[in-house]
Subunit: 361 residues, 2 copies
Amino acid sequence: MMQTRTIHLGPLAIGGASPVSIQSMCNTDTGEVENSLQQIERLRALGCDIIRLAVPSAAVLPAFGQICDRSPMPVIADIHFDYRLALGAIDAGAAGIRINPGNIQDESGLRQVARAAAAAGTVVRVGVNLGSLSPRMEAQYGRSAEAMVQSALEYCRFFTEEGCQALKVSLKASSLPLTVAANRQFAAVSDIPLHLGVTEAGTAVSGSIKSAIGIGSLLLDGIGSTIRVSLTAPPEEEVRAALRILAVLGLRQNGPELISCPTCGRTRIDLIALATAVEDELARFAAAGRKLPWRKIAVMGCEVNGPGEARDADIGIAGGKGKGLLFKHGKIVRVLPESELLAALRAEMEAASQASDRAAP
Amino acid sequence: MMQTRTIHLGPLAIGGASPVSIQSMCNTDTGEVENSLQQIERLRALGCDIIRLAVPSAAVLPAFGQICDRSPMPVIADIHFDYRLALGAIDAGAAGIRINPGNIQDESGLRQVARAAAAAGTVVRVGVNLGSLSPRMEAQYGRSAEAMVQSALEYCRFFTEEGCQALKVSLKASSLPLTVAANRQFAAVSDIPLHLGVTEAGTAVSGSIKSAIGIGSLLLDGIGSTIRVSLTAPPEEEVRAALRILAVLGLRQNGPELISCPTCGRTRIDLIALATAVEDELARFAAAGRKLPWRKIAVMGCEVNGPGEARDADIGIAGGKGKGLLFKHGKIVRVLPESELLAALRAEMEAASQASDRAAP
């Protein structure tokens, strides 16, 4: 695996050794500046790094320009069909544009876009979608991962010839194995950063699963510089799902990770309620910007999977037969009635957070 | 990747060219036979193939035996610490036992278990958990994927020497990269089928994401013969999450796949509501055992991602500006008012399902 080049989307570095960034897309009308900016601010607070907006017509370009000026994060224009909208978005101050050259048939128009992006330092994401491969590529390579990779490489050469170095590539198919295969093949032959996403992922629940497998398996192999979880759901859900993927892979810390064992016939406490209560508590701490000095918190249902199996956790609670345990790094520090477990953990969280605050400069 | 050997868990084949099977674990008291069987029946109806029950003490063995006799799917005994419980479960008619030799210190006891399993044809899952590696393995290989793999291989040799061929292996760590690395390494050197799972996965939402990445990325590479999604949630949720993983990977068909595009600024219809309504409709069809002759159904939000991008779908609907499209294989078959889209799709589902029923023998 070669390390990718680093590109800059406004102030944000993508690729190279930069952290994997999270992207989402406004579902507001781009023409409605305040609405859009409010949504962008909500997404930023949740952990979103990059925002994309549709530019469906020239009429929204003035509003798009205002959003670019005022957005707290880099703005990307989503362009389809018409190269003049790409020129307009570059002109309006987009940090990046996302185009699918396969649906812009006008080659001289595309050349103008490349030159304008190179001149303005605008990042270009070259999107290749199995659904919009050129007939020539499809004839030569079939509807395959290779056709997607060869398409992307050809478009990247085209943009590079016109002076664009700040390129990203996305390769998508509604088939997960094909999406993963195409991204692996591309990463093996190019140093251009990859934007990972699974197209037409589906509703919040099934789409999150599909995206987790597609994006997660690539990230596990060190492939992917920026991600978007596409869901048929509000963009806030996309950001939450993206954060969960990065968190479970250890790529983004958003407070301590909660680990908990599955329920089974040995469980004698209401583990689901307890784990959910701890999860809520962690979310409240994160939302309030409060830090905890722990990497992992464990909620375990019995002595079998208790302190021993969770010894990687900085702190944890386990329920036994009527009694509860509070443990740190696998060592039991308190035995207490089961009903006091949650309160005891809360007290530890409070104390640890206050100690962290005092230690901070 | 070598193909694994095929083993038989009761009538169910695991490994080789067999479909990937789904496992869950009762959270009932094993001593309560009727309760446990009712939960098993609910899980079976959802798509579960294998059920595991805790055997925490000899007192539950008579009840466990009755459950084995009456269960509509193979039953596995979950054993910890005490080899005599494993002997009791084999005697009671378990199709398989799950043991973690790392937490059974008694080597001669373990040998008795191996001989009893070999004599009874009971499948043995050798569970290796990073949390319960032997001190010797940890000293030699560290707390690493290699230590987990070498532990598993050593235990498998031990069981093989006593005549057990029907072995499965699970390799788990609460770290996802370590879990995936250990399973990949094991699959490269052994033909013993792997049971995939991510330990201490977490609550329903974050646990599903963690399991989807861990289990899904291995399945994508052709690794894994049977899976369990461990959640701190009712086992029904585990089976649903497992089905989703298999479905998005094309490994299990549970009615047509729903694909839908993300919402964006171009969307002029309530795509979330529409996709959710179609998802509910598909769930109702599946629950009623009704078949649809389609692989994919698409719900698209606009003309950009509409019929063209969803041309892999057998049927789909797309919303535009006030008007709706019904399309089949990318070709528009009807233009109709947006408000009639869902009803039109429902009518197509009814007609197609009835035609399927007539065609069935």
